[in-house]
Symmetry: C2
Subunit: 298 residues, 2 copies
Amino acid sequence: MRELDFIEWICSQQEWDPSVVPVGPGDDCAVVVVGGRRLLVTTDQLLDGVHFRLDRDGAEAGGRKAMARALSDIAAMAARPLAAVASISAPKGFSREDAEAMYRGRRVVSEQFGCPMVGGDVAAWDGPLAITVTVFGRPDGIEPVLRSGARPGDAICVTGRLGGAWRTDRHLRFTPRVAEARALAGRCDLHAMIDLSDGLAMDLRRLCKASEVGADVAADRIPVHPDAPDLEAALGDGEDYELLFALGAGQADELVNEQPLDVPVTRIGTIVEGDSPALTGPGGKRKEMPAAGWEHRT
Amino acid sequence: MRELDFIEWICSQQEWDPSVVPVGPGDDCAVVVVGGRRLLVTTDQLLDGVHFRLDRDGAEAGGRKAMARALSDIAAMAARPLAAVASISAPKGFSREDAEAMYRGRRVVSEQFGCPMVGGDVAAWDGPLAITVTVFGRPDGIEPVLRSGARPGDAICVTGRLGGAWRTDRHLRFTPRVAEARALAGRCDLHAMIDLSDGLAMDLRRLCKASEVGADVAADRIPVHPDAPDLEAALGDGEDYELLFALGAGQADELVNEQPLDVPVTRIGTIVEGDSPALTGPGGKRKEMPAAGWEHRT
């Protein structure tokens, strides 16, 4: 099963009333109207052997990453986290010490972001460890930034540096860009945003698809992380959990000049007419963005 | 790891502000205040080999049950479902047809209860199928009914008949008692309620513990389901997804006389001073409620 196709199919099975569910499946968070207020919701799973390894990384790192991944989706909409619930499928032999370590890892992140864990479900089984974290957030004065608002002429920017996260332990200890997203959305009119979980190539493709636009990215502008061996890694490694966003070119120039965040902001390209991103190499040769990036396939 | 002990430990790690989280972990749903309104949240997992068997029961039954189980927690608080998100950990070989069948099963229930699935996460892995469903609800005019409000002298009632659910396919096709709970809470002052997922013995023990009371249950009043071979099965099989609730004796008498629901309501006993439930057999002998019931242990 190809996950992206299935998610696309689910999105086509529209079953929600837009006055109750203004944003359904397919963005980083759904938006649901509760008593006249908008609530953002995202659910995300951390699977042993896929997103981390319990035997190598330990339960505390798992708890930490599970919570941080879900918060990265909240960041992608520039929302403020409110509360979370978690379900834990515990393998045979998962000890009380493991469970408490996982809790501690999760709690460090939840306290840092003011996002208490208010409920959960724990069950033992014969399978590996799986943690699902569902986080809700609220706009709190900032309009949720969707994937779908990019327009031709917009600048494309990223926070931080890309690639190599899983080649070190950076994929376990990243900081979800909640504060950065709110700072950006507070000072700029962000047209579209996504968090980089599966790599720039794939996530920019998603943003382009949602916005029905193309993109021109300059290969030599991509901020390659020192942990990444090459440009390919920066495009396809994934697990960066940085922000990718589109905004007016003038605002992007100011942003890049002023560098108001604790992490660098880099303009990597421009939104254009089209339906998928392209990459211009150092020699000026323009080609389709490689389909690199990380998708689960069964 | 004993799950109940771990959940108790989590509850002891209080980390939430009661003005934001009036009900934290330990009840059927958490209650979170969003923009002055209360939101109910529950998360529940369906694990292949624990709560159903993919090879025997099929993906459609799994989707159906995953959604229905979470809705049963919403029913236990007498809330109205609003929306849901799901995460799916798909085993190798889980086909697109399986995924669509699971979706159909889930959707039958979500349409029946007006609870659209607004988002989700799908990942493939080497483990078995796991589905986590998180449902949000709202009070919608009915005060959420907690586990903790039972008081000595209250009548103890149950809906439906108990036991044998997993001995047939009833555990796959039960109806969460959302409408029944709201009808009951609309006409009676329910002091405490819980849904029967792990069996009367264990779930009554939970209600007693949360309310800091004991209970006297008359063995010959327990409505044993025809699928259950004996009283033990009615006490310990679990997966009934019926409602267990406490209310004033006078209101209980009226309720039992009038039988206003489509399912029978039976008074099975009385809340007393104490800290755990007791069972009085046909011979009048009173003993501690057997510790039967279904708890995962690793």
